[in-house]
Symmetry: C2
Subunit: 394 residues, 2 copies
Amino acid sequence: MKLNENYRSLSRSYLFSEVEKRVGAFREMHPNQELIRLGIGDVTLPLAAPIVAALHDAVEEMKEKQTFRGYAPEHGYPFLRAAVRSHLEGYGAVLQEDEIFISSGAKDDLAGILSLFGAGNTVLIQDPVYPVYADTNILAGNRIVWMRAEPENDFLPMPPKDGGADLIYLCSPNNPTGRAYSRAQLEQWVQYAAACDAVLIFDAAYEAFIGQHGIPHSIYEIPGAQTCAIEIASFSKTAGFTGLRCGYTVVPRGLCRCGQNLNAMWERRKAVSTNGVAYVIQRAAQAVYTPPGWKAVQDAVSYYKKNAAVIASALQSAGIPCCGGVNSPYIWMKCPNGMTSWQFFDHLLQTAGVVGTPGSGFGSAGEGCFRLTGFGDAEKTRQAAVRLVQAAAL
Amino acid sequence: MKLNENYRSLSRSYLFSEVEKRVGAFREMHPNQELIRLGIGDVTLPLAAPIVAALHDAVEEMKEKQTFRGYAPEHGYPFLRAAVRSHLEGYGAVLQEDEIFISSGAKDDLAGILSLFGAGNTVLIQDPVYPVYADTNILAGNRIVWMRAEPENDFLPMPPKDGGADLIYLCSPNNPTGRAYSRAQLEQWVQYAAACDAVLIFDAAYEAFIGQHGIPHSIYEIPGAQTCAIEIASFSKTAGFTGLRCGYTVVPRGLCRCGQNLNAMWERRKAVSTNGVAYVIQRAAQAVYTPPGWKAVQDAVSYYKKNAAVIASALQSAGIPCCGGVNSPYIWMKCPNGMTSWQFFDHLLQTAGVVGTPGSGFGSAGEGCFRLTGFGDAEKTRQAAVRLVQAAAL
C-alpha cells in the first residue's frame, strides 16, 4: 500500500480559524461593542431576482415526468456553454463551445486540472495569492517557485529572466492584492509561457470587477494564448454563486504539450470524474447572461466596488499606502508603524472593533500587509473606514 | 513539462455512443416502429413532491439578504451530515457526523479518493462492473487485477487465495449484474482487507433497492469495517438525483494506513479541492430523509423494482438464465443461442424493437451477457418483456 506522502508536506492554514478565535475572545470581553467585518471574502447580497426566477422555473421542470432532467452532459449543457462562449466573445476572446467546460466552481477545477500533468513539474506562483494553487501543487508533488508581489514591482510580478517553468499561475485581478495585469503585461506572460513551453493557468474569478480599459477580462484576449493557456473562471463573485457552485474552465483545442492535446485530455478527465453540474444550477448560470440578469449582477458588483472605493479613498486621504479596490473587491494595505499583519489585526480589533484579514495568511510576502474587502454592508463600511483611519493613526 | 502519460492507456468507451448510433440507424430504416428502451441507466420518474418543495423553499432563502447562504462548509452542512448519520444508524451502521462527507455525487468522489493513495497500488476490481473504477485507477497509475463475476461464483467473486491487494472495489448491489453480497460474504471481504492491510472501497449507490433480509445496505454493518473500508454512496438512484448531483462518502476515523489517518487526509483533500455542495441541493437531500420524502422515494424505487421483476419473471418463465432484479434495478441475462453481446443487441433491436445494453461494455467477463433495467415506463416494460422473450426464442 502506497499513500500520497505529499499530504505530510501540506501546512494547515489556520488563517480564518485563528481570525474567528480572536474575534470570539474579543466579543466575550466586550459583549456590547458592535464589530464591523471588513475581512469577508464571501458575497453578502442575495441572488438577483432573474436568477431566483430561473431556479424556480428549473425546479418546476424537475417536478414533471415530461420535463424532468436526469444525468447532465459531463461538459455542461449546450445552452450554458453557448452563453459563456458569447460572453467571452464580447471581450474579444473567440472560442468554440467545445473548448468551454462547465464546472462546480473554480476550486474544483484548480484541483482537477493537475490530473493532466505528471508529478515533479516546476510551478511559478504569485506571493501573496489564493492558497489553493500552492496546496494543490504540493499534493501533486510539484516544485513551487514563488514570485513576490511587492511595491517594487507594483504587486504585479513579471516573467523571470530564466526559463524552466512548466506551469504558471496568474490570478488577475488578484486575490488578495486587488491588482490586475494590463494587456501589455499579459502579452509578456503569454510570450514567456510560449517560449518555455509552459502552460499558463489564468484565474479569472474576479474579471467582472474590472472597470478600467486596457485590463483584459480573459487571457484569450491576448494573441497566442490559445496555444499556451487554460482559463479558470467562476460565477461565485460575478453573480454571487458562492453558495450555488458553478464556474467554467477553458481548455483550447490548440493547446498541445508532449504530443498530446490537452483539450481532449480534459474532456476525458471530466467524463471519468464527474456527471456534470445540476441542471437547475446551470439554468441559474444561464440567467446571469440575460439582459436583466446581467444588469442585476453588475449592480451587485458596483455595490461591492463602491464599498472598496470608500475604504481605499479613506486610506489614501490618510496617506496610508494601499492598492486594489479599482478593478477588484479587495484592498491591500501596508500595516502602519511597522506592525506585522497579526499585530495590526489585534490593534484594529481592539481599538476600532473592525475585523480584517492578516496579509501573512496569503503567503510570506504578505507579511506586514492587510486585506480589506468591499463585500460588507455599505453603511457599515463607511463607519469602518473612519474607524480604520483613526486606528492607523494611533 | 511532464504530462500524465496514463491518459494514453485509457481506452475510450464507445458503449453508449455505439448504442445510439445503431438505434439511430434503425429509426431511419423503420421510422414508424415504436422502440422500447430497456437499456436506460438513468432514472425517469420526476423528483418527489417533498424534494421539490424543499428546493423551492431553499431558493426563496437565497433571495433575501437575511437568509442568503454563501460558501457552504466544505464537508457538508451539519443538517445533512446528521441526517445521513441517522439513516445509516437505522441499518446498524453507527458513525459520527465528522466521518460523513457530503459530495457532488459518487463519481466525483470515486475519482477524488485516489488522491489519498500513491501510484503503483494493486487494485482488485469486479468484472463486469461500472467502468469508472478502472478508468480512475488507470489514470492514477495503479495495477488492476480483475475478479471475474460469472455463473460459477454466482456473479459474486470472493477474496483470492493470495494477498497482495492494496485497494478493493466492491459494488453491491452490483451494476450491471444486479447481484448483492450477503452479510457472511461481506464479513469474508472485511477479514481479507484487514488481513492484507488493504482499503476496501464499497460502492453503495444501489442500497435503496435492497429488499431481502441479510443483505447489508452499508459496509459498516460488518464488524471491523471501520478500520478497513471507505463507503461511497449517492442520492442518484435512491432519490432520483442524477440531475441534482449529491451523495456522500464515509471515511471512518479509525481508518489508518502507513501511519496516517485517512479521515484527516480526506478532510484536508476536500478543503483543498472543493467549496462544498450547493445549499439548495443539500436541502433537497435532507428532504429525502423526512417521513414524506422517504415514503415518496421508496415508492419510486418500488416502481423501478416492479419493472425489473416483470422482466426477470418473463425471462425465467422462458428458461433464459438471468440474475438481478431482486435487490437491484438491473437484470443480467445470458444471450440466447450463444450470441455475443452485440449480436443479441442487434437481434433484439431488429426483431423486437427493444433496446438493451451489451454486457461486454462493462468488462470482458460480460461478453455473451446483456443488461436490462427497470428504469423505464411500467406499461412499456410489460410490452417489452413479451417481445424480449419472443425475440430470444427466434
